[in-house]
Amino acid sequence: MRKLNFSFVIINLFFLFWVGMYVKNEYYLSLVIYILFNAINASCLNVLLGYAGIISLGQAAFFGIGAYSSGILTATYGINPYLTIIIGVILSAVIALIIGYPALKLHGHYLAMATLGFGMIVYICFNEMDFLTGGPSGLTGIPDMSFFGFLLDDEYKFFVFMGAVYMLFLFLMEMFDKSFLSYKLRFIHESENASSSYGIDVAKTKLTTFVVVACITSINGSLFAFYSNFVSPVSFSFHYSVEMLVMAVFGGLGSITGGTIGAAILTSIPEIFAEIEDYEVVIYGVILAVTILFLDGGIAKLCRRLAGKYVKSE
């Protein structure tokens, strides 16, 4: 087994420290917070796509389930935020089990369509169940959450909290990347028949991964609800699932750096060039196409290759 290599975690830590020390502008802070949300989501999808080879086009649904269960339970029923995160996780886990058990037996485009259909159903439910979710206009009045007595009510405080959550997540990702589980998943990705002949319970491993990823995405969704104090179905549509996919693929499948890099670049592009708002969709598409056509392995692999060249010539 490979040794743990925390260089990427440390780079991230330094970057976040730098942001925390010098960036006081609320707009940039919120941008970084969105990057962190997207980075966690994209990395989660990366685990499914890049490691296990599970094509899921419905991850936005779990993000939404987390966000809505926290939002509804705190705003309408006034339940403790932490309790609602746990409820969201349990709900997501149950749904992921129900969907994953039959769906993960499918492969390729069948699986893609099944998860897409699932995502669409959840999205339609968010839209239509307006007695619970507030319908298309969204759910308002979600309170801020507090963390050991600190009320996370402004951008900076939330940034510090989210940064800590993200670092914890990244640390766990690094552990996962070097764990036996990740090798098992890669093996399954390579050949399901071969791995099952080696005594790996393919269905169980895939299902566990799917459920755990859904839970993490759901926690992320809950945090998102507490951050924005407002959730509406648009944030969890098919479009967001595709955005996650673009981030994961562009950043680089099968590496922990991939999701973060993809999320950082793709979240900042529309913000930096505000005037290209209408072109955003096309740009996402072009980036995705170019990555598949010319950049197999995404930015992460490109960096690694460039670094390798540089070291060799030394």
Binding site: H109, Y110, F118, I124, E128, V282, L288
Partner: protein, 287 residues
């Protein structure tokens, strides 16, 4: 009974889209996630030709279809052919990329508003047993029946149709036999786009056109294709009609907002319990 008639109308559209999926699947084994986009583009083209350039329908219709055909061929040339590592994941992702590019461009050109298209034939309502059906719907049903009949003959009887099917069986063997595989793949995308545009034009007076119609139409078309068994034309028609009718029935019983959710529920159930489709005989990929 009314839901049956409206169900058959929307079902024939799904059937046309499903046939588009099947053509590409039959020659390449790829599921083209951009198929719904071509339906949308068909409607957009006919709108532009009729109302922006004031071309009569007789000429506008073939021009729109030809435009879609060219676009389909280009789609294959630009996106599919240059995928180096032809894994299923990459092929799925590239068609998703293509679909969002097409959708984005459509939004830039035609805007976000719904565009109204008037009926192509004098509007009439036909009284049937316990319900009515409009002439537009009859046109849609007629067109899809005609197309599927025509295509079945093309694929079963003609030399070119056999070439298409040979490519699906074995690309190498097909090219050894002198079939230009690249050409066939390219044309299958062209024909699929053409069919999508037929569906788009036919349905445009009924549902009108919006830039993001494609997602829903594409998904339902795929559901229809899977339901009837991927790769079979009559299966696609069967699946389309079943989907359309059950959707219309569902909408008449439950709040109509959930109508689309119903379509996806059906596809999930089919995928989980009978991935080879209701009519399918082939052993599916469920391991």
């Amino acid at each position: 009974m009314q839901f049956l008639y409206s169900g058959i109308t929307s079902g024939s559209i799904y059937a046309l889209v499903a046939i588009g999926f099947n053509i590409i699947y039959n020659t390449t084994g790829i599921i083209n996630f951009a198929q719904g986009e071509f339906v949308m583009l068909g409607g957009m083209f006919i709108y532009s030709l009729l109302y922006m350039m004031n071309i009569p329908f007789i000429f506008a219709f073939p021009v729109a279809l030809f435009g879609a055909f060219v676009l389909g061929v280009l789609f294959e040339r630009v996106f599919i052919r240059y995928v180096k590592v032809k894994t299923e994941l990459n092929l799925i992702t590239i068609t998703i990329a293509g679909s969002i590019i097409l959708r984005g461009i459509a939004m830039l050109i035609w805007g976000r508003d719904t565009l109204l298209v008037e009926s192509f034939i004098p509007s009439k309502t036909i009284q049937l047993y316990e319900g009515t059906i409009t002439s537009d719907s009859v046109l849609v049903i007629g067109v899809s029946l005609f197309i599927s009949f025509f295509l079945t003959i093309f694929f079963k009887k003609t030399k070119y149709g056999k070439a298409f099917r040979a490519c699906y069986e074995d690309k190498v063997a097909a090219s050894v036999c002198g079939i230009n595989v690249k050409m066939v793949v390219m044309f299958s995308f062209g024909i699929a786009a053409f069919l999508g545009a037929v569906a788009g034009v036919a349905v445009s007076p009924i549902t009108y056109v919006t830039y993001n119609d494609g997602v829903m139409t594409g998904l339902k078309g795929f559901s229809a294709a899977v339901m009837g068994g991927l790769g079979s034309f009559w299966g696609g028609i069967f699946g389309g009609i079943i989907l359309g009718v059950s959707e219309a029935f569902f909408a008449s019983v439950f709040p109509s907002g959930y109508k689309d959710a119903m379509a996806f529920l059906i596809i999930l159930l089919i995928l989980f319990f009978r991935p080879q489709g209701i009519l399918g005989r082939k052993k599916a990929t469920r391991v």
